[in-house]
């Protein structure tokens, strides 16, 4: 008996010793603070943690990868203007962007704007940034948005051997003038150049060759910024830690820190509940729909239903489904009411064409087709659909709501005589299959810019689209929209487009989710929203 006790004691001792040694090592290896102070984990600083479900893949302001990266980069390098949830553009680095003739745009920078070293943000910085982004060696993912400017090719690149962009001119230290190739609405100019040109400091970057700029230390951890927050540390798949820029030219932020935590959907709800995160970004810190009720019921949180933005589009390969009647039949066959009411529990909207009710260009007279399996059957019969044929339905894996919706769709299609087999793919594979047209039906979530849906719609419908669809009338309409500046006519053209699309069904949408935003009641002045959430970030505070 005595022996056993000694034996147990030895093990207990070894166990405790091992635990202590290892954790002690961790303190010195992995954290800055090696003193091992036993301070409480809840800090007394004014900190807000924002939960996101998508990684900020690259914070490089010249080429942010993904929307979360854009949010974070935009906190360090202000865009000229930013779109708010009311779809109005709010001044950021620029005080105003104006045009008299829809081809010459005057950008007036905020004359107080300054870098963190106190030097002013000037017109030269703006032009320098534009030149960097239009340099083919930098290969910015957003250069194509600047293809509307005179002096850049349609992909937004400066032709080789040219030093300056002919359509861009410095007027004075704080004023830049830009000319577009074709007449452009102020909305589109602001939605492209205004939102995606994140001005970087010429002084800090001028000695780095353009081909090295993406890999430079500056792009990993910018040392000279102009926005309300500065980067402290960043780990792509886990967090971004930011601290206030006390000298921010619009006034020092009331918060001391703003952090983004990359979490899975279920963890977002859990951490909202536990208070480990204070808020989410509705469409980019997605709360699973199954948790909506629980989150809405918590006293510590205030929630808001976002506008319908993220839309599930169905890609239809015209090689498999060549007849418009067959495509209409697919629309009629799917019980979208049930998906929205039961699966989304009402937090969504049935969308038929490309535009949800959030877009100012949606034609309310073009009603989504109702669920009508009988009509679907007769349309299929008329078109001579081969009921023995099995087609595949390619769906993004990992989104449980979409997976369930896909199951309902496959059942609906089967009920009218279209055998559809679901295939789940990760995003990389799915995009590859869609672009190469190696699919029959595919579903992908796309968020169209509500004020400027044209680039996406043109990609889906113009020649070379991933549906293999071709319609001369639509192509004429899209070309007209490209250079139309009269808002009434733009609306008319979008209406015509929606009418044709409702008949021809080249690419039906299924539903658009109204993503839930949740925020802890201790936060003052902030609201979770997909557009414009961080415009007033310097006023955010905690109780």
């Amino acid at each position: 008996m005595k022996a056993r006790i000694t034996w147990k004691k030895t093990y207990t001792f070894v166990l405790a010793a091992a635990l202590l040694t290892l954790t002690a090592c961790s303190g010195s290896n992995d954290t800055a603070n090696s003193t091992g102070s036993a301070s409480p984990s809840v800090s007394s600083k004014k900190v807000i943690n924002v939960g996101v479900t998508y990684s900020p893949n690259a914070l490089n302001p010249l080429s942010p990868v993904g929307q979360v990266s854009s949010y974070v980069s935009g906190l360090m390098f202000l865009p000229l203007v930013e779109l708010d949830e009311d779809l109005k553009f709010k001044p950021m680095l620029a005080d105003s962007i104006e045009t008299a003739d829809n081809s010459t745009f005057t950008i007036k920078l905020n004359s107080n704007a300054k870098w963190t070293d106190g030097t002013p943000v000037t017109a030269d910085d703006v032009i320098y940034t534009l030149k960097l982004m239009s340099n083919v060696k930098v290969a910015s993912g957003f250069a194509y948005l600047f293809g509307i400017l005179e002096g850049l090719d349609d992909s937004g690149y400066l032709p080789e051997g040219t030093a300056d962009i002919s359509g861009v001119k410095k007027i004075d230290e704080h004023t830049v003038e830009m000319k577009t190739k074709a007449p452009t609405t102020l909305n589109i100019f602001q939605d492209t150049v205004g939102r995606y040109l994140l001005t970087v400091p010429q002084a800090a970057l001028k000695d780095i060759a353009p081909e090295d700029i993406n890999k430079s230390d500056f792009m990993q951890k910018p040392t000279l910024t102009n926005g309300p927050f500065k980067l402290v540390s960043y780990d792509r798949d886990h967090y971004v830690q930011m601290e206030a820029n006390k000298d921010f030219f619009k006034g020092a932020p009331k918060l001391e820190q703003l952090n983004f935590k990359v979490l899975q959907g279920t963890t977002i709800s859990a951490q909202l509940q536990s208070g480990e995160i204070d808020m989410n970004i509705p469409s980019f810190g997605v709360i699973p729909i199954s948790d909506y009720e629980k989150i809405k019921g918590l006293d510590s949180l205030t929630t808001n239903d976002g506008p319908p933005i993220a839309t599930q589009f169905m890609y239809i390969n015209e090689k498999t489904v060549p007849d418009a009647k067959q495509r209409q039949a697919i629309s009629y066959a799917i019980n979208r009411e049930m998906i929205v009411d039961k699966l989304l529990k009402g937090s969504g909207e049935i969308v038929d064409g490309f535009l949800s009710s959030y877009s100012p260009y949606q034609d309310a007279n073009v009603k989504p087709v109702g669920y009508d399996p009988e009509k679907a059957k007769s349309l299929l019969q008329e078109s001579g659909w081969d009921a023995g044929k099995t087609i595949n339905l390619s769906v993004l894996s990992g989104d449980s709501t979409l997976e369930q919706a896909a199951n309902i769709m496959a059942e609906n299609l089967k009920a009218v005589g279209v055998k559809a087999q679901i295939q789940m793919f990760d995003l990389g594979t799915l995009i590859d299959k869609l672009v190469k047209m190696e699919y029959d039906l595919g579903i992908l979530t796309v968020s169209l810019s509500p004020v400027n849906p044209l680039p996406d719609i043109a990609y889906f419908l113009n020649e070379g689209n991933p549906n293999g669809y071709k319609n001369a009338e639509i192509e004429t309409l899209l070309a007209a929209l490209q250079s139309e500046t009269d808002e009434t006519k733009i609306k008319e053209n979008y209406s015509k487009l929606q009418q044709i699309v409702a008949q021809d069904v080249p690419m039906p949408s299924i539903y658009a989710t109204k993503a839930l935003g949740a925020i802890n009641n201790k936060v003052i002045g902030a609201k979770p929203k997909d557009f414009g959430m961080f415009i007033n970030v310097s006023e955010w505070d905690v109780k």
């Binding site: 022996a3 954790t23 303190g27 993912g141 299959k433 996406d456």
Partner: protein, 323 residues
């Protein structure tokens, strides 16, 4: 012994080389590519091409592999195609947290498994034995993610006494206690798994030894039961366990991916997942190389440890070297 180790290391080199080639080929055969993930597919063709050139993806595949390999020999694992951070630096930064989590779980797991396994073998069919065997079955059969979510529910949501994820409080002290409280839940999950698997191995290995003649001899010469079990029986019983433990390391690396994701642990598990999902070729190659090195090193260490605990093996090495 030295010769044996050297020989093993030399054999490891072509194995590593083969692993990287196979990884490269499989990766390139998989649909999708980093350009699609980086930029919107609606970009003009010229823009997609510019990105390919910038990432070095326009060169023929064999040339890309050769470039990668020559860089590796110069100690450079390249740059991530998504974040443009140095692959070596990223792996270095994330390896620490993973090793910390795995190391503690492995050690705790063994410290629980060995005494429980030995006790339940010496007291076969006792209450303790049933308890250990049942616990072991639970440890193996409860899926990691399920246990993890259950623990989060109880300790983070219901009682709110432990954080549900991360390694430190962002904006907090980042000190010893901070890391410790974040470690508790993931360590419990992984330890339950490691201990569960190994209790059974230890128990059955011990049971086999307990019936051996030499133990009867030991008892017959009047040795105390404590020494019989802990000196004569256990040392022999642990020999096969060494092999099993060597296999734990790759298993833990796999299991860590799930656990790191659930607990947002900043280790290489989640980094591996997102590298694969975003087709970050250079990152995948780097991680694969490191993982292969770890597995090979773990095997080598197991074999050496085996020789150390079992003199028969050491003699056979020396015999082979003498020939």
């Amino acid at each position: 012994m030295f010769n044996y180790v050297m020989r093993r290391i030399l054999i490891a080199l072509p194995v590593l080389f083969g692993v990287t080639i196979i990884n490269f080929i499989i990766m390139r055969m998989a649909p999708g590519n980093p350009v699609d993930m980086l930029v919107n597919p609606k970009l003009p063709a010229a823009a997609l091409e510019a990105k390919k050139i910038e990432l070095g993806l326009n060169a023929p595949a064999y040339e890309q592999y050769w470039n990668w390999l020559t860089n590796v020999f110069q100690g450079n694992l390249g740059y991530s195609m998504i974040t443009y951070q140095s692959v070596g630096k990223m792996i270095g930064e994330h390896m620490g947290p993973t090793l910390l989590l795995m190391g503690i779980s492995l050690i705790l797991g063994i410290l629980i498994a060995i005494p429980l396994g030995v006790l339940s073998a010496t007291k076969q069919y006792s209450k303790l034995d049933y308890f250990a065997v049942t616990g072991s079955f639970l440890g193996i059969s409860i899926p990691n993610f399920f246990l993890a979510l259950g623990l989060i529910y109880v300790f983070s949501l219901h009682y709110k006494i432990l954080p549900s994820g991360g390694m430190t409080e962002l904006g907090g002290s980042g000190g010893f206690m901070d890391v410790l409280v974040h470690l508790i839940l993931p360590v419990i999950v992984l330890t339950a798994n490691v201990a569960g698997r190994n209790i059974r191995y230890v128990r059955s290995s011990m049971l086999e030894i307990m019936g051996q003649d030499y133990l009867r001899t030991a008892r017959a010469k009047g040795l105390r039961e404590f020494l019989v079990v802990n000196k004569h029986a256990m040392r022999n019983a642990l020999i096969p366990i060494v092999t099993v433990l060597g296999m734990e390391i790759p298993i833990l690396f796999g299991g860590a991916v799930v656990i790191e994701q659930i607990f947002s642990w900043p280790g290489i598990g989640q980094m591996t997942m997102s590298a694969i999902l975003s087709r970050d070729y250079s990152m995948i190659m780097g991680l694969n190389l490191v993982a292969a090195c770890i597995v090979i090193a773990a095997n080598l260490i197991t074999d050496i440890a085996y020789a150390l605990v079992d003199p028969r093996i050491k003699n056979s090495y020396q015999g082979a070297a003498a020939k």
